[in-house]
Symmetry: D2
Subunit: 134 residues, 4 copies
Amino acid sequence: MEIASLQSALGQYFAPWVQALDLRVLAADGDGVQVLLPQQAQLARIGGMVCGQAMMAAADTCMVLALMQHWGEFKPCTTVQLNSSFLKPLAGQDGRVHARVIRVGKTLAFGEIDIQGAQDGRSVCRASTTYALL
Amino acid sequence: MEIASLQSALGQYFAPWVQALDLRVLAADGDGVQVLLPQQAQLARIGGMVCGQAMMAAADTCMVLALMQHWGEFKPCTTVQLNSSFLKPLAGQDGRVHARVIRVGKTLAFGEIDIQGAQDGRSVCRASTTYALL
Amino acid sequence: MEIASLQSALGQYFAPWVQALDLRVLAADGDGVQVLLPQQAQLARIGGMVCGQAMMAAADTCMVLALMQHWGEFKPCTTVQLNSSFLKPLAGQDGRVHARVIRVGKTLAFGEIDIQGAQDGRSVCRASTTYALL
Amino acid sequence: MEIASLQSALGQYFAPWVQALDLRVLAADGDGVQVLLPQQAQLARIGGMVCGQAMMAAADTCMVLALMQHWGEFKPCTTVQLNSSFLKPLAGQDGRVHARVIRVGKTLAFGEIDIQGAQDGRSVCRASTTYALL
């Protein structure tokens, strides 16, 4: 799918509170989908670090885009599991979220997400997720 | 801690985007902390279901309050892991989030969270989490 | 199901390597299934602690019994996810594994497992798991 | 570290029940450690599939070797969390386990494990794990 279509899906299929993350689709190809998670004061805890809640939400959301990219269209699916590990703080820079589809079966799909600092390229959060196909 | 102190902590230690969840502390005792996650259009996906991203954010946030309740004060800590399972949709009712501290060691704390429909009392999301104490 | 039937299932549906755990069904009722994980030198790391690998294997195995108990019979299912947290070492005592079915849907089942020291009753391992029903 | 040293560590630091997996170190370099999980009747469920319990145990064990490889020596550490996803059955072939260290901090280390069929190279199990450094 084209980047513009995925960007438009962000405004169509997600809750307004998720849209407030202001995610921007950067790339979409055979290796998954990448979105920018811009730093903004709304997402910052004391100390200026991006809150973990925003990273989990960005991971889940980016994965839905990666499944759309895999299928070439939006299909209804629901998150069954999302496991997140927080490796180090994300502060003073945007985040770059990369979601990859690992396997799509008949009833389940598996994916993995890596969030890196957009400047230093270091992983700050890694997540794995399972989706049920409806 | 008193409910009012925990409610006030929600406005003090968390990002504005997390505060937009409008969580309300319902109970705080030896069995952990319970907060209400009010249904609101901002959190709803198409179909009126509360988005999973909001449930993960509420789980993580409520757990921080449960750790405060455990210690009797706020102490800096950071989420290392949060694993969430989504059992069924939450729609047409508020959510009731219950966070319990399972174990607090010297450097790590473990907790579990159950989110139920506030009306029907059925579990919609279960999460387990690990925190590093700083 | 009766305890004897579940004990017999342990010898019937599981790999010999899993049977070497020597699990013994202690209870099976509306609150799930409990099995004993006897301490034995084969399962011990240096220092006499029961290895985490044995606890994960016991958790997964006990959950299959809990699903049998739920259904009243063995049905084919496959583990999709198993998340384990290790709270403290298990040493110098048997383990008591308690598996509870949290929700059974059409295609997925969710469960949670608690492993406690059989003597001191303290949790050493907590796990959550998702099964696909075939 | 040399492959022979890691192979010898398998016989030194792990429980006999884990040694029965008969893991064989295949590679150890900057990209982590790879071990072979040979198919054997002891590990097979009905239908000839390698049981998930063996894959989780192999994942955890291989990760300890990857941390040794990272440090150049054995250091005491303990598994805090291990999350496993089972993508498809492993049957009729050996497994190839690849453990990578993702990040090592002062008190915590993070890793990821991929288990593939040794013949077809397809992922059957993916795991992520957190270790506490003692």
